[in-house]
């Protein structure tokens, strides 16, 4: 099946998501909460595109829009620019400390709206929830999005150090804005209020992970993949 994105004919399979098709064809759509290993998050909404289908047109998130039949897609129509710009402007207030967001606002021409107020100065989290999904998909579930609405935040149960956390750092790894604090210092990793002893490869000295991570992975030998 052929669909048109920004005037370019793109081949795709039925059921493929628009974002996937655009990426394969070298068409730029900004994303934050999209991760190939954890698809379908659909939370940040910066991947907005305009889909024209017959006489109808709708602005929608491309990461979860499955192609069903031949459509015409615009990633840069006036409407997309306006609405994406507003989403980014809101994210800048949500995460005023994030360079990633600041750069994206710049790159996609998000309006500077002095009337909007920053939520917490210096905060980098955009609450996309990728971290909790990464944690859950590894079978740990040490963190969750807590509360709801404008009170929502990411944390451990009752904000106490979680016994389920293995200090693997996957949450920090997938975070699009580097909002999760993880510190490796003097052989100890500090994350989510817990401390973990780090294990290094006995041959090359490369960092393998934390002791708890090794245990969870069933890895008894302190050798890295390369050695």
């Amino acid at each position: 099946m052929i669909i048109t994105i920004d005037g370019k004919a793109c081949e795709c399979e039925k059921g493929e998501f628009l974002l996937q098709v655009a990426k394969r064809n070298g068409i730029d759509i900004p994303t934050l909460c999209h991760h190939d290993g954890l698809p379908g998050q659909a939370a940040c909404r910066v991947c907005l595109v305009e889909v024209k289908d017959g006489g109808r047109s709708q602005v929608t998130a491309s990461c979860v829009f499955p192609v069903d039949h031949e459509i015409e897609v615009s990633t840069n129509s006036r409407k997309v620019k306006e609405e994406r710009g507003m989403v980014l402007a809101l994210l800048r207030m949500r995460a005023p400390g994030s360079e990633v967001i600041a750069n994206m606002c710049e790159a996609y021409g998000a309006p500077k709206i002095g009337r909007l107020k920053p939520v917490v100065d210096g905060d980098k989290c955009i609450l996309c929830g990728l971290c909790k999904r990464a944690c859950a998909s590894l079978g740990n579930g040490a963190i969750e999005t807590l509360m709801r609405g404008t009170q929502k935040y990411v944390g451990t149960p009752y904000d106490q150090p979680s016994a389920d956390c293995i200090g693997c750092g996957s949450c920090a790894e997938v975070c699009p804005t580097g909002a999760i604090e993880m510190k490796d210092e003097k052989g100890v990793r500090t994350i989510w209020g817990s401390e973990f002893r780090l294990v290094y490869c006995r041959e090359c000295g490369k960092l393998i992970g934390t002791e708890e991570y090794m245990k969870a992975a069933g890895n008894t030998d302190d050798l890295c993949d390369d050695c």
């Binding site: 379908g40 659909a42 939370a43 940040c44 909404r45 910066v46 907005l48 709708q58 602005v59 929608t60 998130a61 979860v64 499955p66 409407k79 306006e82 609405e83 507003m86 989403v87 809101l90 994210l91 207030m93 949500r94 709206i113 009337r115 909007l116 107020k117 939520v119 955009i126 609450l127 929830g129 969750e144 999005t145 509360m147 709801r148 609405g149 404008t150 009170q151 929502k152």
Partner: protein
């Protein structure tokens, strides 16, 4: 002869002491057994709808209905009506002209109503399956058992039934999609997570006629080919949870549910899921997540729940009121159902009519009736005969409709075209003393708390809108605020993940559309025309209207009003906190509002 005393035991009347009244009737009737000619039964029923006049007591077959009954009235009712066969005049309802009304159908609140979903409520004991059967219950299910899946769906298609939860999606089409799925396990679900402020339609049905919901859900199960179902009821509805749980047990004991439904060999099992207390769980995909034991957050669709829903199985969720209509559709036929209503919206709709109307309560009317009829004829008009300002329909995601649209027919499509929606049936009437900016702020605050917070536009859009609206109400509005609210709102309509988010800006967008001047008065004129926003309001006494009755001075909580009897009073602006108590107390309309001085 046999007389039955029907004591309303809906949540509203219970709160006003109706249980004690029912108990006293039982005890006193037993005591006064002396009169052998009259045999009396006391029955506890569900909500009659006219809650503000509760507790309600109905006497059948005389068809006398008493309002605001007190414990001390019980003996008189027994002596005069049950034994004497005459009405107790002082407990009757007085119509708009002050005449006492005996029968329910002569009461201007009930007369224009046409009850389908609420047909049994107030007449049957919700905890007695025999009562439901006597009212023609489980006949729709019996008929459905003789039909094929496609025949059931066709019957519902003929009825034109659309989802009563708000979106108005054709019920048959949802079923058709689920029916076409080739899956071993399918689920049906009842959405009883009613969370709109001021709405209590579904609660009343679940409490007052639980079997009709079970029957409707069983019919849905037969249509889509499901053997299992759940009723998701918000946990705050304690009586609904209790009555539905009891009804399931009862229905199973009588063979209407269970392993061999009415001897057909079919299996249908239902369970109650108590909601986790989130407004967003009324959204289908969030409801399913909650049933699965996950955080109640919506999921992107497609896939639609009818294809991939609870635990990955095809799932059809229907609203309580939708389900309550189904037994009638199957029993009497889809055509008969479709004879009521408008072209695109068939049947009746239940509304919770609340706010500044004289008669508030639960109302069921045919689709297509005008808002004016609903508010002025059934609701009796605005309290104190004040001017009407707006009616908020469809809950927080609905919109505010102004006076010049009162002649619009109430149905799914007309209100949607005006930027509001019929929604699940909440209808809040406002008079000229309601500030539309404050109303928008209230709903946005509600939604900012109740949004699941998953997607950026809803969570952050609501947060920023709330900040701006609060500023406007507190006198810090700035030029350009209206346009900024509009562009955030319009973005949300497109960019949000679920229907809650997409409609969350409606209260702001409709109030701007229809009451823009009021926003402007706040921002540019430093004045709240309704006299609600205290930072932008001051009150003064209009000397020519003031009779010097001293009511305002008595009502003032801070002693800001002074004056002599029979002489015009004065308000000291330095002491006044702009609470409006004086204005409420004044019977001569002598208290006027103006902007805050010095701002």
């Amino acid at each position: 002869m046999t007389r039955t005393v029907l004591v309303c035991c809906g949540t509203g009347c219970l709160a006003n002491g109706s249980k004690a009244i029912a108990d006293k009737f039982e005890a006193l009737i037993a005591e006064k057994k002396a009169d052998a000619r009259t045999e009396c039964f006391v029955k506890r029923t569900g909500c009659n709808g006219f809650c503000e006049n509760g507790p309600l007591v109905k006497i059948m077959p005389d068809d006398i209905i008493y309002y605001k009954v007190k414990l001390s009235d019980v003996e008189e009712i027994i002596d005069t009506t049950l034994i004497g066969g005459k009405p107790v005049e002082r407990l009757l309802y007085k119509d708009d002209k002050g005449r006492p009304v005996t029968k329910q159908e002569e009461n201007p609140f009930y007369a224009p109503q046409l009850k389908t979903a609420l047909r049994n409520i107030g007449f049957i004991d919700p905890l007695k399956v025999e009562d439901y059967l006597a009212a023609g219950g489980y006949e729709g299910l019996k008929k459905a058992l003789t039909m094929t899946q496609d025949e059931i769906i066709e019957e519902v298609k003929q009825s034109g039934l659309r989802g009563r939860g708000g979106a108005g999606f054709p019920t048959w089409r949802k079923w058709q999609t689920a029916r076409e799925q080739n899956a071993e396990v399918k689920y049906v679900g009842c959405n009883g997570d009613e969370g709109d402020p001021g709405a209590f339609m579904d609660r009343s049905v679940l409490e007052g006629d639980p079997h009709t919901v079970l029957e409707g859900l069983a019919i849905a199960a037969l249509a889509v080919g499901a053997e299992e179902g759940f009723l998701y009821i918000r946990d705050e509805y304690a009586l609904a949870v209790k009555n539905v749980t009891a009804a399931i047990k009862d229905a199973e004991a009588h063979g209407f549910l269970g392993d061999n439904v009415m001897g057909s060999g079919r299996k249908i099992k239902f369970s109650v899921v108590r909601g986790g207390g989130a407004f967003v769980c009324g959204e289908e995909t969030a409801l399913i997540a909650s049933v699965e034991g996950k955080v109640g957050e919506p999921k992107p669709r497609p896939p639609f729940p009818a294809i991939k829903g609870a635990f990955g199985a095809p799932t059809t969720i229907n609203n309580v009121e939708t389900l309550a209509n189904l037994p009638v559709i199957l029993r009497d036929g889809g055509k008969k159902f479709a004879s009521v209503g408008t072209e695109g919206s068939k049947g009746t709709k239940v509304f919770a009519l609340v706010g500044k109307v004289k008669r508030t309560g639960l109302v069921e009317i045919p689709m297509g009736v005008t808002l004016r009829h609903l508010i002025y004829d059934i609701g009796g008009g605005i309290q104190g005969d004040r001017p009407f300002k707006a009616v908020q329909t469809g809950g927080p995601s609905g919109g505010c409709i102004p006076e010049n649209m009162l002649d619009l027919p109430v149905d799914f499509d007309t209100l949607k075209a005006k930027g509001a929606m019929m929604g699940s049936g909440g209808m809040i009437v406002m008079d000229d003393r309601s500030c539309m900016v404050e109303v928008a702020r209230y709903y946005i605050e509600f939604l900012a708390e109740e949004s699941c917070g998953k997607c950026t536009p809803c969570r952050e859009g609501l947060r920023q809108m709330l900040g701006i609206l609060t500023d406007i109400c507190e006198g810090r509005g700035k030029k350009g605020d209206i346009e900024l609210l509009e562009s955030i709102g319009e973005m949300m309509q497109d960019a949000c993940l679920c229907a809650l988010g997409k409609t969350a800006a409606n209260p702001v967008l409709t109030t701007i559309k229809y009451f823009r001047d009021e926003y402007e008065a706040h921002i540019s004129g430093h004045r709240c025309p309704a006299g609600v926003c205290t930072a932008l309001t001051s009150f003064k006494v209009e000397a020519d209207k003031c009779k010097g009755c001293t009511m305002c001075a008595k009502a003032c909580p801070v002693g800001a009003v002074s004056g002599e009897v029979k002489k015009p009073h004065k308000i000291d602006p330095a002491k006044c906190i702009a609470c409006g108590s004086c204005r409420e107390a004044c019977r001569f309309g002598a208290i006027a509002t103006e902007g805050r001085k010095g701002k």
